[in-house]
């Protein structure tokens, strides 16, 4: 049917070179020209299809037309009220007159009421006694005929006066309609062979691609979404930062120890036992298991002594030392706990112990490139420089809100070498943050119990138009390094930042719960862009 209609249009165009008014067309299968709105809508479909192939072009014209209301449609089917009243009555003298009550029963209240008046007015019926009879033996139901004409043609030949009358009687409504004028397009032809949508293997085999016409591709439409998997956006940022460390020659530290003791998480780092970070409000302590095995005694003794009584050139905190605090098990509040353990292992040879050898883990620094012993093994104090990093989960007993979770990822870097300077640290931080796309940084002196000097790193945030803190750094205190056995001239840089913060900035996320945890939307993960700093 659709193709037949297209063929009619093309044939008409071929014969007459243009179609001035599509209402004159006769749709295949119909007898009358396509005057109605529905017919024009069918024609529009055919025109669009032909025009997409550039076979024709057309112009749209608007026209006002009429259509019967539901009441009007009922009249078209059953006749006007007056005609129905007339039809229900016997012809005068040919039967018993029908009483108004009987009439109501036959045609219904509404029809009887409205129809009687008009039938009287038209002289079709008359009263006889208590009842009603037909006067006219035959009638012409003009209302019905008019409505029928409107229904099929959208208008009335008899003109606006009757239309307006029917509108007032709410039997018809005005409608906007369309018709079209059509001319030949650049690819005009009378053949409507369907255009191909895609190049197929059959076309290649048969060579039909040479003669086929192809449907125009809609370049505005989107492609079909892919079905692939996706990696989590936070871990994509982790990979990018990990790569920065690897590009800069850092070895990854083992950090597979969420559970730490107060000793490794705080004491070894020279964090005083009364420090607020160790409060129950801030740190998750364990109920089971609750107490660690004792750390190595000689090291433990040195650490407790430097806290309580001083040593290694320091006055120490001179505060009461409680072994129980040291042995309490907790969930690490920072990966610096793992770094401390790593540094202790790095200093093994300096303590005269054999370097622990676990082939699954990094165990020792590279051969020294800067050490003073070079060329003279007798002066070798066992120290080897190291550049270390880790990115792993840490835990804080925080009340959760839009920017805080009880667990997050810490990025940590450590450089250990002889005579490293604060200027080296700052210079290194500039390069490190530059690689993360943060070009403008400045350094604020800060307090941190295990580093001296300590620096907070601020970056200029172009969107917020202000400086924001992006990380912490410093040089580990001698009170931490010397009990481990490091020689005095070994300095260790450390710095840390959260992984979540740069990720939230990267992806424009305001609520951390939409990034980490089970409430994250899978769709969000699927649609997170790749990360390139």
């Amino acid at each position: 049917m659709a193709e037949a209609l297209q063929q009619v249009i093309l044939d008409t165009l071929d014969a007459e070179s243009s179609i001035k008014d599509t209402r004159a067309l006769v749709i295949p299968g119909e007898k009358q020209p396509a005057i109605s709105n529905d017919a024009q809508i069918a024609i529009l479909g055919a025109l669009n299809s032909l025009s997409s192939r550039d076979m024709i072009s057309y112009a749209t014209h608007e026209v006002i037309s009429h259509a019967p209301t539901p009441e009007g449609s009922q009249i078209v089917e059953q006749g006007s009220n007056e005609a129905r009243v007339w039809a229900a009555l016997p012809l005068k003298g040919q039967g018993d007159p029908v009483t108004p009550n009987q009439l109501k029963k036959v045609v219904g209240d509404e029809v009887a009421k409205v129809g009687q008046g008009r039938a009287f007015k038209n002289g079709w019926i008359a009263k006889e006694g208590d009842g009603l009879v037909k006067l006219a033996p035959e009638i012409k139901d003009v209302t019905r005929d008019d409505l029928l004409e409107i229904k099929s043609s959208g208008t009335l030949k008899s003109g606006e006066k009757t239309l307006s009358d029917l509108r007032k009687r709410k039997l018809i409504v005005q409608k906007k309609g369309q018709w079209f004028s059509v001319t030949k397009g650049p690819s005009f032809s009378t053949s409507i062979a369907k255009p191909e949508t895609d190049l197929t293997v059959e076309m290649l085999a048969s060579g039909s691609w040479k003669t086929s016409t192809f449907k125009k591709y809609n370049f505005e439409a989107e492609g079909i979404p892919t079905n692939g998997g996706a990696l989590h956006p936070l871990l994509k940022v982790r990979e990018e930062i990990r790569n920065i460390f690897l590009e800069m020659g850092f070895a990854e530290m083992p950090t597979q120890s969420f559970v730490e003791s107060g000793f490794w998480c705080f004491d070894a780092l020279f964090v005083p036992q009364q420090h607020p970070a160790r409060d129950l409000q801030d740190t998750f302590y364990l109920s089971d298991p609750a107490i660690s095995l004792p750390p190595k005694k000689d090291y433990y003794d040195l650490v407790s002594k430097v806290h309580e009584h001083g040593g290694f050139g320091s006055t120490g905190y001179r505060a009461p030392w409680v072994e129980e605090e040291s042995r309490k098990l907790l969930l690490r509040t920072h990966t610096t706990a793992s770094s401390a353990h790593m540094l202790y292992k790095l200093a093994a040879a300096c303590r005269g112990e054999k370097a622990p050898s676990d082939k699954g883990e990094y165990t020792h620094g590279a051969a020294s490139t800067t050490g003073s012993y070079r060329g003279d093994p007798a002066k070798d104090d066992g120290f080897r420089p190291a550049k270390l990093f880790s990115i792993d989960r840490v835990f804080r007993n925080e009340t959760m809100d839009a920017t805080h979770l009880a667990e997050f990822h810490q990025v940590e870097g450590v450089v250990a070498d002889r005579n490293l300077t604060l200027a080296d640290l700052i210079g290194f931080m500039r390069v490190f943050f530059d690689k993360m796309g943060i070009e403008q940084v400045r350094f604020k002196p800060a307090y941190n119990p295990y580093t001296e000097p300590s620096l907070e790193i601020f970056a200029f945030h172009p969107m917020l138009n202000r400086w924001v803190e992006v990380g912490n750094s410093g040089m580990f205190r001698p009170e931490m390094l010397e009990p481990m056995g490091f020689p005095k001239d070994v300095r260790v840089h450390g710095w840390g930042l959260s992984l979540e913060r740069p990720t939230m900035i990267r992806y424009g996320i305001n609520n951390i719960r939409t990034l980490v945890g089970h409430k994250v939307s899978i769709e969000g993960i699927e649609n997170s862009p790749a990360v390139r700093f």
Binding site: G313, G427, V431, G517
Partner: protein, 630 residues
């Protein structure tokens, strides 16, 4: 970090100049402080609307170890010295006209040992308070109480109008029922027992009651006429309270920590000695301890520490002479002099206001701050090392990437979960030997460290109802098990897990995920009845209430035999013949039991897979370890 609010106009007056917000922010930044807020705009806006408003304030973040900057007095003093506008004040002890014999005496009774044995005090003479300095005096005590004093637990401060009291004083510890006095702000007398009940409902004091509540004796200070000064660490008496008109101030400090006691008494005395008729003078007090020992407090003597230009240069990357070091340190309120014997050495006098200095490195930092961190030369560490990723990270990444390529989505649930989610929801029992439990979680969501990745994956499925089916998610991350053999009594284990959720359960789909991971790790699939193969994995039906009956299997792995040679071969043959298995169970897979799905509120069938990745970890490359030491 504590934040102090200071009156903006007063600070400008003390600094002798007004600063723009930006300039002041820069100055603070350089010194290691942070301008948190300038309320000027807020105050002006309120005034425009005709609302009552205080004077504009600056809110400044102070490093937690700089107690000397916790009030406007100390802050202005430090900044003025830093800006070379004044030299640092010399704090002085001034004895009464009769000398040591005329000192006020406080006797400490032996009972105090049972609760709060340490005591120090000081007197400020001829003080003139203004409303503002009085307020600052109260606020400094509050700041000290909240920080170094650990909410009065370690140290507590009381201040009194000395003219309402008669010496000598006694610091005692008595049973609460035998203590009776009218506390600050009340006319009525109460016993200490009653006070503990009265203060229960006063929020600002209720939080300190626990410090002494259960002790048989409470600390209490009396004057010569048995009038109470204070009941530390809870409340002062109403009788001796200080007012704007107080001219002679007695400061008492009690503690359980000697170092912090000294710091606190020094801070309060030095900061407010500014308002004495002769500024920066403090009258000491003689404290007699139960063992007969006496101590003159406060001890505001300076400590001399030695610093070396060579050390400072080697730490900072500068090349300063010792006299340049001296100049820098003086800007940080540290008096310094050059050593007569060693041209490299600087003798630094540490004032009582700087207890944060422990080591030469602290002096080094002060020199670096005075020089300006951001003015240091641009350097880069010469340390040359070879990069090395961790074996377990590389292994994890292989599985992550392969599963991602297979069309699955990586998720990142939390590591902490509830005890129920970890056990009962999975139809498992907590045997008490597996999971690490948290003592002080703020919510039930964080009772244990997970021992399985499945609950997090199922919670993610639950929260993603609106995602079109099938849901295909995975995670490779750590779980934690108790491990009594280790120092930390626990060990992490890297797991890989995946959950499939669709209209049908799809055991074979999750099975395919296992096969894919193994294929990529080059672990051959072997039959469960194959005793001969050297290495491989297989699955074998198992009973696990977490899974649907008959739709669950354990994953077994047989590691390649490491030893080669005749003996090892014979051993292997014997084991094979006897069907002795060295295979280890590394995980399980199956269709989740409908009761598990119900607990996690999931309306569709799911299959799950979880296994331990650790056995597949490769050895680290040798280049990174130190062959010469092996």
């Amino acid at each position: 970090m504590p934040t102090v609010a200071v009156d903006k106009a007063s600070l400008w007056e003390r600094l002798g100049q007004e600063y723009s917000s930006d300039d002041f922010d820069k100055l603070l930044f350089e010194y290691g402080l942070e301008l948190d807020e300038d309320t000027t705009e807020e105050v002006e806006a309120a005034r425009k609307k005709g609302l009552p408003a205080e004077r504009p304030q600056l809110k400044i973040e102070i490093p937690a170890n700089r107690y000397d900057l916790l009030c406007i007095e100390g802050l202005a003093r430090a900044l003025n010295v830093f800006l070379n506008k004044s030299s640092r004040p010399q704090y002085k002890l001034v004895y009464p006209p009769g000398g040591e014999a005329d000192l006020l005496t406080v006797t400490v009774s032996p009972e105090t040992k049972r609760i709060r044995p340490l005591f120090a005090c000081a007197i400020l003479r001829n003080v003139k308070f203004t409303q503002e300095s009085y307020q600052s005096f109260i606020e400094l005590q509050d700041k000290l109480h909240q920080n170094i004093c650990k909410r009065r637990q370690l140290v507590a401060i009381g201040t009194h109008d000395l003219d309402t009291l008669k010496g000598p004083f006694r610091y005692e510890a008595r049973p609460p029922q035998s203590i009776k006095f009218a506390p600050l702000g009340k006319d009525k007398e109460y016993t200490a027992e009653e006070l503990m009940i009265v203060y229960e409902s006063e929020k600002h004091l209720a939080r300190y009651l626990h410090i002494i509540r259960d002790s048989p004796v409470y600390p209490i200070i009396y004057d010569a006429e048995d009038r109470v000064l204070s009941m530390p660490p809870i409340i002062n008496s109403n009788h001796s309270k200080i007012t704007l008109n107080t001219t002679n101030v007695f400061i008492d400090v009690t503690a359980t920590d000697q170092t912090k006691l000294d710091i606190v008494v020094n801070m309060v005395a030095t900061m407010f000695s500014e308002y004495c008729a002769e500024p920066f003078t403090i009258e000491p007090v003689k404290v007699v301890f139960p063992d007969g020992q006496t101590r003159i407090t406060p001890d505001i003597s300076t400590r001399v520490m030695s610093a070396h230009a060579s050390y400072i240069n080697s730490c900072t990357g500068l090349s300063l002479s010792s006299s340049e070091v001296k100049t820098l340190l003086e800007r940080m309120s540290l008096s310094a002099s050059l050593s007569p014997s060693n041209p490299d050495e600087v003798l630094v006098e540490i004032p009582p206001t700087r207890p944060d200095i422990f080591h030469e490195c602290d002096i080094m930092e002060d020199a670096a701050i005075a020089y300006g961190f951001n003015n240091l030369p641009n350097k880069f560490p010469a340390t040359s090392t070879v990069a090395q990723p961790l074996a377990i990270s590389k292994l994890s990444d292989v599985v992550r990437v392969e599963w991602g390529l297979a069309g699955w989505v990586e998720v990142l649930p939390l590591i902490l979960c509830s005890l129920e989610e970890n056990f009962t929801f999975l139809n498992h029992q907590d045997d008490g030997k597996t999971a690490v439990k948290i003592a002080n979680p703020k919510t039930l969501e964080f009772q244990v460290v997970r021992t399985t990745l499945i609950p997090g994956l199922l919670k993610t499925v639950r929260e993603n109802r609106s995602h079109p089916l099938p849901i295909k998610i995975f995670e490779t991350s750590d779980v934690v098990y108790k491990d009594v053999t280790r120092e930390r009594q626990a060990r992490n284990e890297r797991h890989a897990a995946a959950v499939w959720c669709n209209k049908t359960a799809g055991f074979e789909i999750i099975h395919g995920m296992l096969d894919r991971a193994m294929k990529m790790l080059e672990i051959p699939r072997i039959s469960s009845g194959d005793f001969k193969a050297d290495t491989g994995y297989y699955i074998k039906e198992c009973d696990d209430p977490m899974y649907f009956p008959g739709r669950a299997a354990t994953i077994y792995y047989r590691a390649p035999s490491s030893k080669k040679g005749a003996l090892a071969d014979i051993k292997q043959e014997v084991q094979t013949a006897l069907h002795i298995s060295k295979d280890i169970a590394i995980g399980a897979l199956g269709i989740l039991h409908p009761t598990v799905l119900e607990k996690f509120d999931i309306g569709y069938p799911c299959s799950a897979l979880e296994f331990n990745l650790e056995p597949f970890k490769k050895e680290m490359q040798r280049i990174w370890t130190n062959a010469e030491l092996e």
